[in-house]
C-alpha cells in the first residue's frame, strides 16, 4: 500500500530574522517534499535562504534573531513544529541526519573519529562500548576509509578533507536515518574528491533507500546526483521539477540567468597572441621547499615539503595564463613567492628581464607598482576599519608622487565607477558590501597603480555563479581596455576556460601540462588533466547520466 504521506514535507514555511536593519524574510512560504529513495536538490545562491529550511527541520535555527512565523514541517505526516524539544532530539540523528560543508569545523578536534561515531550511536541506543566500536569500524569501512580498524582512533586533523567528510557521513548514517540533509557537502573539496563523495552518497542511498535533501549552489552537482530540484531565490521557490525539465526548459527568468552564468560553456576564444616578443614574466625552475619540523623544539627532520618543484612558464604582455590545480598543488605558494611574500628555495623569475628575487629596495617599489594581486577571500582582503576611499587610495599613500593628494578622491571615484560601483560608496566600510562588491573594491585597489600584471589568486572562487560571471566579465573588459596581463589561479577548470589564453595544470608542485586553452580542454594529454576534467561535474543532466553510465560500465568490465 503506498504511503499516503510524503517522507518529509515542508508546507508554507515562513521564517523571519529580526535584525538591526529591519525584518528579513529569510523564507516567505516555502513548499517542497521528499520521498524515500529520492534526491531533492535545493539550489540557490548565498542569501537565498536555502539553508534556513534545513535549520528549521533540524531545530537548529538561531532563535532569536530567527523566528518561524508560519507553515509546517511534516515527517510522515506528523508536524515537527508541534513536538516537544525532547521528541525533536529523538528524531534528530535517528530519523533525520545532517552533514555540513566544513567537516573540520563540525568534528570536535579533541575526540577521535571513532569516539564521535560511537557517541552518535550511544546517544540514541543503549549499546555496549564494544558493540559501538565494532559498529563504528564497519561504518568507516562502509564509507571508504582504508584500514578502518587502525584509523578509528585517529583525530580529525589526521584525516584529509575528503576523508573527514566521509567520517561525518559515517556519523550521520550511524543510525540509518530516513532522511539525510547534506548542506553543501562537497563545496570545500577538490573536484576529484567531490566526485568520490557524491558517488558514495548515491551508493549509500541506493542501499538504504533514504531520502537525500541536497542543499547546494553548484549546478553541476545538481545535474550529477539530483532527481528533482527546487530553485530558491530571495526566500521563495522560483521553480521546481525534475532536473531535466528545469535545466533544459527553465520557466523562470532567474533560473535562466543562473544557467546562463555557468562558466566554461561558450566556444573557445581564439588564444590571443602576446603583444611583444619578450615575455613580461618569465619563471625558471622555481622551487620552494618547506622544512618539516618535529617535536616541541621544532627540530628540522631533514625532510622537506616540495610546495614548488621546478616550475617554469612565461606570461607575455597582454596575455592571460590560467593556473589550475587542486588544494596542495602549490598554486598559492607560487603566487606568494612571485609577490615576494615568501623567499624561494631556488630558481629564478624575471619581470621585464629584471630578476624579481634580487631587486633592491628602490627597484622593488617600482616592481610592486607594476605587479598587483587580487586575493581569494573578499571578506578578509580589505581592512575592516578603513573606508573604501582609504582602501582604494592607499596605493597612492604608499607610492608618494604618483598622484597628488588633492586628486585622490576623484581618481578613486573614477576607479570605483570603472569596476561597476558608485562614487557614493567611497564613504562606506567593507562590511556594508556583498562579496562580489568587495571583490570589485579589491580590483579597484589593484588597478590604482596602473599595473601591467595582476595575479588573481582564486579571485572568484568564493563568489556565487552569477556574481562570478560578472567579475570575470569585468576582468575581461579591463584586460582589453588596459592591456593587462593576468596570472589567473583557480581550482575551478570552467572559470579558467572563460578567461585564459593558455592554461598550466599543476600537481604536487609541478606543472604537468601547459598548453592553449583549447588544447587543455579538448585534447588533454596528461592523465591528471584528464582526471580533473572528468571529475568536474557538467551542469547538464544528460551528460552526467552518460558519464555515470560509462563509469559503471568500466567498473563492471
Amino acid at each position: 500500500m503506498p504511503d499516503p504521506h510524503h517522507l518529509l514535507e515542508v508546507r508554507g514555511l515562513a521564517v523571519e530574522f529580526h535584525t538591526a536593519q529591519g525584518t528579513v524574510h529569510a523564507l516567505a512560504g516555502v513548499d517542497y517534499h521528499l520521498d524515500r529513495g529520492e534526491t531533492l536538490a535545493i539550489l540557490g545562491e548565498s542569501g537565498s535562504g536555502k539553508s534556513v529550511s534545513a535549520s528549521a527541520i533540524m531545530n537548529i535555527l538561531d532563535v532569536p534573531p530567527g523566528y518561524i512565523t508560519g507553515g509546517e514541517i511534516l515527517l510522515e505526516g506528523k508536524n515537527l513544529l508541534e513536538m516537544s524539544a525532547a521528541e525533536r532530539r529523538r528524531i534528530n540523528g535517528e530519523r533525520i541526519a545532517m552533514i555540513f560543508q566544513d567537516p573540520l569545523a563540525h568534528l570536535n578536534p579533541v575526540y577521535s573519529a571513532g569516539f564521535q561515531i560511537e557517541e552518535a550511536l550511544r546517544a540514541h541506543k543503549s549499546m555496549s562500548a564494544r558493540d559501538a566500536r565494532s559498529r563504528a569500524i564497519t561504518l568507516l569501512e562502509h564509507v571508504g576509509i582504508p584500514d578502518p580498524a587502525r584509523r578509528i582512533d585517529d583525530y580529525p586533523h589526521q584525516f584529509s578533507g575528503g576523508q573527514r567528510q566521509r567520517v561525518m557521513i559515517a556519523m550521520a548514517l550511524a543510525l540509518r536515518p530516513d532522511v539525510l540533509i547534506a548542506d553543501e557537502p562537497t563545496t570545500a573539496l577538490d573536484v576529484t574528491v567531490q566526485a568520490q563523495i557524491l558517488e558514495l552518497l548515491k551508493q549509500l542511498q541506493a542501499e538504504t533507500g533514504m531520502g537525500l535533501l541536497l542543499i547546494t549552489h553548484d549546478l553541476g552537482v545538481v545535474a550529477d546526483v539530483a532527481d528533482r530540484v527546487v530553485v530558491m531565490h530571495r526566500g521563495r521557490i522560483g521553480e521546481g521539477g525534475s532536473v531535466r525539465d528545469v535545466f533544459k526548459a527553465p520557466s523562470q527568468d532567474y533560473t535562466r540567468r543562473l544557467l546562463a552564468a555557468i562558466p566554461g560553456r561558450g566556444p573557445h576564444d581564439p588564444a590571443r597572441a602576446p603583444r611583444a616578443d619578450a615575455p613580461l614574466l618569465e619563471v625558471r625552475e622555481l622551487c620552494k621547499h618547506f622544512p618539516v619540523t618535529a617535536g616541541l623544539m621544532r627540530r628540522e627532520t631533514g625532510e622537506v615539503v616540495r610546495a614548488l618543484d621546478g616550475v617554469s612558464f612565461e606570461v607575455g604582455a597582454g596575455e592571460t595564463l590560467g593556473i589550475v590545480g587542486e588544494s596542495g598543488s602549490g598554486k598559492s605558494t607560487l603566487a606568494r613567492t612571485l609577490l615576494r611574500l615568501e623567499q624561494p628555495t631556488s630558481g629564478e623569475a624575471r619581470f621585464h628581464g629584471d630578476r624579481i628575487f634580487a631587486l633592491d629596495a628602490e627597484r622593488l617599489r617600482a616592481f610592486r607598482r607594476a605587479f598587483q594581486v587580487v586575493f581569494q577571500d573578499p571578506f578578509a582582503s580589505l581592512n575592516p576599519r578603513m573606508t573604501v576611499l582609504d582602501i582604494v587610495s592607499e596605493p597612492w599613500a604608499i607610492h608618494k608622487g604618483v598622484l597628488p593628494r588633492a586628486r585622490w578622491r576623484d581618481k578613486a571615484a573614477e576607479l570605483l565607477e570603472r569596476v561597476g560601483m558608485e562614487s557614493s560608496h567611497l564613504r562606506r566600510y567593507p562590511h556594508q558590501f556583498s562579496g562580489g562588491q568587495r571583490q570589485r573594491i579589491a580590483i579597484a585597489r589593484a588597478l590604482a597603480l596602473e599595473p601591467e600584471l595582476i595575479i588573481c589568486d582564486e579571485a572568484v572562487s568564493a563568489l556565487d555563479v552569477s556574481i562570478q560571471a560578472q567579475v570575470i566579465e569585468l576582468l575581461k573588459e579591463l584586460r582589453d581596455a588596459l592591456g593587462l596581463s593576468y596570472l589567473f589561479i583557480a581550482h575551478d577548470l570552467a572559470v579558467v576556460r572563460d578567461l585564459a589564453d593558455r592554461v598550466a595544470v599543476m600537481q604536487r608542485g609541478k606543472i604537468v601540462e601547459l598548453g592553449t586553452c583549447e588544447q587543455i580542454f579538448e585534447r588533454p594529454e596528461h592523465p591528471y588533466t584528464r582526471t580533473l576534467l572528468a571529475a568536474s561535474p557538467e551542469p547538464d543532466p544528460d551528460v552526467q547520466t552518460e558519464r555515470r553510465r560509462r563509469r559503471a560500465a568500466s567498473f563492471a568490465a
Binding site: A20, S46, G47, L341, F371, A380, S381, N383, R385
Partner: protein
Amino acid sequence: MAIAERPAAPIPEPRGVLASALAMLWRDKLACIAAVYLLLIALCAIFGPALLGNVGTGLNLQMRNAPPGSIEQGWTFIFGADALGRPILPRIVIAAQNTLGVATAAVLTSMIIGGLLGLIAGYSGGWLAVVIMRFADIVMSFPSLLLAVVVLYVFEPRVANLVLVLAITRMPVYIRTTRAEVLEIRERMYVSAARVLGASTGRILARHIAPLVVPTLITVATLDFAFVMLAESALSFLGIGIQPPEVTWGLMVAQGRNYLSSAWWLAFFPGLAIMLTTLALNLLSGWVRLATDPEQRWRLEIKKRRHA
C-alpha cells in the same frame, strides 16, 4: 556561503566628527552618565586643591570621626570627618588630583610602552621578540613590592619614581595582549595585500594592525586603573610616592582601615570614588570600542527598537 546579504545600513549625512561622537554618546545613556561623572572628577582634579586646599587640610579635633549625613558644621562635613577631624568630602576632591595624576600617568605609560613593545615582539619575531618576551616574564615573576623597595633604595622617593614602578609592573599585561593579537592579525589577508602594495613596516603597523589592537588595550587599561590606584596606596604606605599631608584615595582607604569597625565612612567614601571611577571608565571604554568599530557602530546610530 553562510553569510547572508545584508542591506547596506543607511548612511547618515556627514557631520563633524565631534557632533556625531556626541550624538552617539547620547544614544548610550550609561556611557553618557559615565562621561559626565568623569568630567566632574577631572574638574575636581584640576581645580580642587586650589579651591578647597585649606578646608581639606585644616584639623578640627572636635570633629574627630564625625559621622556622615549631618551638615550642622557646614556642607563639607556631609560625608563625615576623619580621625583628625578633617572633612572627608573636600579631601576626596583634593585627592582626585594626586590619585588621577599618578594612575593616569602610570596606566598611559605602561599602555603605550607595553603596546609598542608588544607590536614589535609580535610583528618582528626573531631575537628581539625573545628579548622582549623574556623581559615581560621577568617583570611578571618579580614581586612588585620588591621592585618598589629596590627603586626606593636606589632613587629618591618621588612621584615620578612611583609612576615608573607602577608602569613597569603593569607592562607585561599589555606586552602579552598586544603580541597575541598582532600574531593573529598579521596573518590576515589585508596585511598581505598591503605588503604587496609595497607598504613599509611602519605603515602596516600603524594603519593595519594597531587600529585593531588599540580597542583591546583601552579595555585592559580601564580595568587596570583600579588596580593601579590601590597599588599606589600600598607603595605610598611603604614610603615611596605620595606622603602625608598629600593625600590620595588609596591612602585615605588605607588610613581608614584602622577605623572600619567604629567609623566605616573613613574608608567607604574614598573606596566608592575609586569604584565609581573605574566603573565609569569601563563603561566609557565599552562605548569607545563600539564607536570606533565601523561594523558595530550602527548599534549606537540606530534608535532602539523592540522585537516582536
